[in-house]
Amino acid sequence: MARILFDNVTKYYASVKAVDNLNLEIKDKEFLVLLGPSGCGKTTTLNMIAGLEELSKGDIYFDQQIVNFMPPHIRDVAMVFQSYALYPHKNVFENIGFGLKMRKYDTAEIDRRVRDAAERLHIEHLLDRLPSQLSGGQRQRVALGRAMVRQPSVFLMDEPLSNLDAALRISMRAEIKQLHHSMQTTFVYVTHDQAEALTLADRIVVMKDGVVQQIGSPDEIYERPENLFVGSFLGNPPINLLVGELVSDNAGVIFQKGRFKMEFQEEISTKLQPHIGKSVTLGIRPEDVNEQGAAVPGLSVSGTVNTVLPMGSEQYVSMTIEGTEAFFRLGKEHKHKGGDNISLDINRNRLHVFDQETERSLLWG
């Protein structure tokens, strides 16, 4: 029902540039996640879609229409706030039905929709309570319900799960995904939690300091980060980064840091040809290794295990590579302990190489 377009949008708070020249098209019925650290301008972006913040520069379109100066109550958007912002003086029923009441739906219709939403969110029994009598998870559901009943053309969510405990957060993720599926409308979801972004999104927009870093599907963002920030922001444990140099070798282009060497696959090697001699950061995701017996220089990492962190289904081992501590994720086939000598075969078609100076990926983007 709604496509949203940001055209060169910039937002200043006094002298603080909260959003810097944002160009973004949010497709109809898409689930878009804005991901980035706190203070990067996610909420500001969301507020601009809702009409709660004025733009400093640029235009916002809903479909073909410019909505820069359209106040929020006229835009057909619903929003779930981080603090839920339930009306303290209204009970759950009135909270959920308020948006409909303000839009002059008749009482029977309001009643039907509120009960319908309450049922889907499993809060039918709470309709007479005040927000102060609800738990965090229940409040969160009411906030969702309040947005749901409206069936808006855009559904905005600002870190809706960040105040919940871990278990509830995971189960709510699935429900939100379900909600998107059944509502068939555009969702814009803000989070600083990469796991949430990766599970929910059709597309992710990674932001930092008001600037978009990369836009893409979760796989694209995770597997082909266009810069060092995106590469290191996603992934848990985070990507291992080694600062070294690209040098020429008889095997083609190789990465070298002290005595540590890493060869690249043919295809990648060709891509890196023009960058020989550059100072670069090599990124190895913790999971992109296999355990194997023998150490093969240039194809594997080997060393002494510093610590082992058992994680139940798997284990993380850390080792020092040329002065840099690196974590790797291994299965449970071999039980490791500190002091063991191990060799890990690197999954070389999943390596990342970033220019040390520009921090841009030399492989993609």
């Binding site: 507020n47 809702a50 009409g51 709660l52 106040p71 929020p72 109550h73 958007v77 619903a78 929003m79 706030f81 981080q82 603090s83 912002a85 339930l86 009306y87 303290p88 003086h89 308020f98 948006g99 303000m102 839009r103 309040r146 409206r150 905005l156």
Partner: protein, 320 residues
């Protein structure tokens, strides 16, 4: 750090004993302080009340009778029922000081002046809300150009001493043709009440989360609807406080009323009461009765809404 270790070295028995004793001292100190405070606050009013029930003969006794020996309602009767009395030899005597009467003929003005005070105060309260609530909401929750400046402007207007305003007020009132009209006081009292109203309400609205405002607007409320549907119901305690302050300020105001009223058409209760005090022929017991009449409504209001006064000031003046 060293102090901390000293504490742990003290045997617990001694602590118990010591705290019990200091608990008793504390209670005693509190009790005595409370008594002194109550006397300080209540004794003057009590004396006023007591002497308002005394007759002229009793009130001039030396030393004074702290409690009336022969309580009389004559002063209050004069205020509340004089209008209905026939003019007889007895009642005539009262208006003639030479004949030993001490109750002035203007006693009959007390009730009408009370009515004026009431009308004025209620009007000021209503206008304060009409004018102050939207302004406070705008200043607290709408980011507009000149917001800070308007806050300062409103606070600044309250800084000028009332007496400096009397002459220009007088001209405004005269040009509006409102001299000796209750409207003149209603208008000028706005100047002394609205800044405070706005200040308290701005502080209160500010303390409500911005996201509540945003939620309402996304839910389809215009700015006015947001104010009425969400902020007003939540602001009830502050609204009560603000209404009370405006009412009491108007009910009690003296200087401006002194300047702008001439006849009972607009004179307020304080003016009538003050007019008694400067007349040496009038009995003090009667004046005190008039004072009691002036005191009762504001005191009842203040006691009834006591908790709102404190919460109103908390939201306003000393917000953390």
């Amino acid at each position: 750090m060293t102090l901390q270790s000293t504490k742990f070295s003290v045997p617990s028995e001694k602590w118990k004993y010591k705290s019990k004793r200091s608990e008793r001292t504390r209670s005693a100190v509190i009790f005595i302080a409370s008594i002194f405070l109550l006397i300080y606050v209540l004794a003057p009013v009590g004396w006023l009340l007591s002497s308002s029930f005394q007759s002229e003969a009793e009130i001039v006794s030396v030393p004074p009778h702290w409690l009336p020996h022969e309580p009389t309602m004559e002063n209050f009767n004069a205020i509340f029922f004089q209008e209905f009395e026939e003019v007889t030899y007895e009642t005539r005597r009262k208006v003639d000081p030479a004949a030993g009467g001490y109750i002035p003929s203007t006693a009959k003005d007390l009730l009408p002046s009370m009515w004026n005070s009431f009308i004025i105060s209620v009007a000021v309260v209503i206008l304060n809300l009409v004018v102050g609530v939207p302004a406070a909401y705008a200043m607290a929750k709408i980011r507009f150009w000149g917001r800070q400046a308007s806050v300062y402007t409103i606070l600044t207007t309250r800084v000028i001493p009332d007496i400096a305003l009397v002459v220009p007020f007088f001209l405004v009132i005269k040009n509006l043709g409102l001299l000796d009209h209750v409207m003149s006081l209603i208008i000028t009292y706005l100047a002394i009440t609205v800044p405070f109203t706005v200040f308290i309400l701005v502080s209160y609205f500010e303390s409500l989360p911005d996201e509540l405002d945003k939620a309402a607007r996304v839910d389809g409320c215009s700015r006015l609807q947001t104010l009425i549907q969400v902020f007003l119901p939540l602001a009830r305690p502050s609204l009560v406080a603000v209404m009370l302050f405006a009412f009491l300020t108007s009910w009690n105001e003296f200087l401006l009323a002194l300047m702008f009223t001439q006849t009972i058409a607009s004179q307020t209760l304080p003016i009538i009461v003050a007019s008694f005090t400067s007349d040496f022929t009038i009995s003090f017991s009667f004046i005190n009765a008039a004072g009691v009449v002036a005191i009762i409504p504001p005191v009842i209001l203040a006691l009834f809404f006591e908790r709102y006064i404190v919460s109103g000031l908390t939201a306003g003046a000393v917000k953390g």
